[in-house]
């Protein structure tokens, strides 16, 4: 029987992991400082205590600024580093770069039209290359 794996795109896995990483770091910092209350944090920032409670417990999104505010009030400076996916992978994981699919956005109905009509400078290109091309009008 094969193992069960949750099917998610690599970029959503990355998002979920990163959000959790930040939450857990703040929760550890908060746990390490029992002398600082959520009320004190909330009052200093200027929000209700319930907002800080939900954000610390991960029940409400936090802006990057809020992460920095709470970190600062707990006595920390948040740091951020980007690592290349090949460097981040180890012997236990395959690198999972998200495939950036080039997208052709067509507004309305795509209509094949001569290059000269599609691009104002196309005449110069086709004259230079000696080719004529038809392409769908794209945005």
């Amino acid at each position: 029987m094969p193992s069960f794996r949750i099917s998610l795109t690599p970029h959503r896995k990355a998002a979920a992991r990163f959000v959790n990483l930040v939450h857990r770091a703040l929760q550890r910092a908060y746990a390490d400082h029992p002398e600082i209350s959520q009320t004190e944090i909330a009052n200093t920032i200027g929000v209700h205590r319930s907002v800080i409670n939900r954000q610390l417990r991960g029940y409400k999104d936090m802006s990057l600024g809020r992460v920095a505010e709470i970190s600062n009030l707990l006595g920390y400076v948040p740091c951020f580093e980007l690592k290349k996916i090949e460097e981040a992978a180890g012997c236990n994981a395959r690198p999972e770069p998200a495939a950036l699919n080039p997208v052709t956005i067509v507004v309305g109905t795509a209509v094949p039209m001569p290059v000269a009509q599609a691009l104002p400078f196309a005449n110069a290109i086709s004259a230079a290359t000696g080719t004529s091309q038809k392409m769908a009008a794209v945005l």
Binding site: M1, P2, S3, F4, R5, I6, S7, L8, R12, K13, A15, A16, R17, V19, N20, R24, Q27, R28, Y30, A31, D32, P34, R54, L56, R57, G58, Y59, K60, D61, A88, A89, G90, C91, N92, A93
Partner: protein
């Protein structure tokens, strides 16, 4: 009588792959029943969080499985708990939007027999019914005795369960 691995090989339960990043290795295991796998794929995967949160329930589950299997703490002091004892060896594991119900046949190994949305569990008070369902599944499982760990506190079933460490 069978071991967990025998039951996995027979298709009675399925081991969950944690996809740990970097050089991390599994320090805990999760097994799920096939119907739990179906529910995750067919229902849970379509849900959005009811909270003001950008991470969907299926993504919360993905991260939770990673944390669990990597051996990370599941309880952070001062009110942040990811598991709850329902009695008779049945435990509730939590994400923001989901609840997993099951038991620990051995330390650091969770067998999940049911999963549902947290709001539904709370509104319909399904804690008791899900706990009873888990007991039924556990009793019917051809597993070597003892089939579950006893104990009311997380340290009975998990290592490194809390931060800071006690």
């Amino acid at each position: 009588m069978a071991t967990l691995l025998d039951l996995h090989d027979a298709g009675v339960i399925r081991r969950v792959e944690a996809e740990l990043p970097g050089r991390a290795q599994d320090e805990r295991l999760i097994y799920i029943y096939p119907k739990v796998a179906e529910r995750i794929e067919n229902e849970i995967a379509e849900l959005h969080s009811i909270f003001e949160h950008e991470i969907d329930p299926i993504e919360q589950l993905f991260v939770f499985i990673g944390e669990f299997c990597s051996g990370d703490p599941l309880i952070y002091e001062r009110q942040i708990w990811s598991l709850n004892n329902l009695g008779d060896g049945i435990w509730e594991l939590k994400t923001r939007d989901l609840r997993l119900f099951g038991w620990f046949p051995v330390r650091d190994c969770f067998v999940c027999a049911a999963i549902d949305q947290a709001t539904r569990v709370k509104e319909l008070n399904l804690y008791g019914p899900y706990a009873q369902e888990c007991v039924r599944h556990r009793d019917a499982l051809d597993l070597d005795e003892p089939k579950f760990l006893v104990g009311d506190y997380p340290n009975a079933v998990l290592s490194n369960f809390t931060y800071p460490a006690p």
